[in-house]
Symmetry: C2
Subunit: 119 residues, 2 copies
Amino acid sequence: MTLDASVASRLKRNEDGLVAAIIQHDDTKKVLMLGWMDDEALSRTLTEGRVTFWSRSRQEYWRKGDTSGHYQWVKSVEIDCDGDALLIAVDQVGAACHTGKTSCFDEGGPLQCISRENR
Amino acid sequence: MTLDASVASRLKRNEDGLVAAIIQHDDTKKVLMLGWMDDEALSRTLTEGRVTFWSRSRQEYWRKGDTSGHYQWVKSVEIDCDGDALLIAVDQVGAACHTGKTSCFDEGGPLQCISRENR
């Protein structure tokens, strides 16, 4: 599947041909995960209505939900000012994280940090 | 500045020693930008109360707001399930994007995509 040329020309891919894709729940605005896409994965995501990533660890396409049932239905896709990151709003079915948590950022709990309030 | 060992041990850095950092506005939940951090940048971010990135293009530390006045005050920092991405909630002063837009994802407008509603 060929990515539309007008989109492809705006992408600034890393040395592996990938751009980062931030997945955000459209309703709750919770950030669910960060994945990676090559042109093919982005093309599938834009045209199929479900999010497809490139899995760097498995070196294969990974359409979210095919094994887990935890589909990510695409609501909108935005590209950032320098073309190396995508923000994808989704309707998330079930948990986004393979650990069963709603978000991949729920797993470890917050890191200890200084904020303006407690400095 | 040395990153706390309990945090450093959880990071899965890329070949350049970096992890991705998603910046989200704490109030509006808007995703503002994606930056990159090495151990030093994360350590400064956790201890100074303001976000510091590693700039891949300039190859230098970049404390957001030092030149623009558009500070990012840290509210919380979370790490994802596999340790290669951070989610940082901030109070953003002014525009997050160097283009003057609120978010770096506001610049180009949404890409055309098929969603469940219009398939």
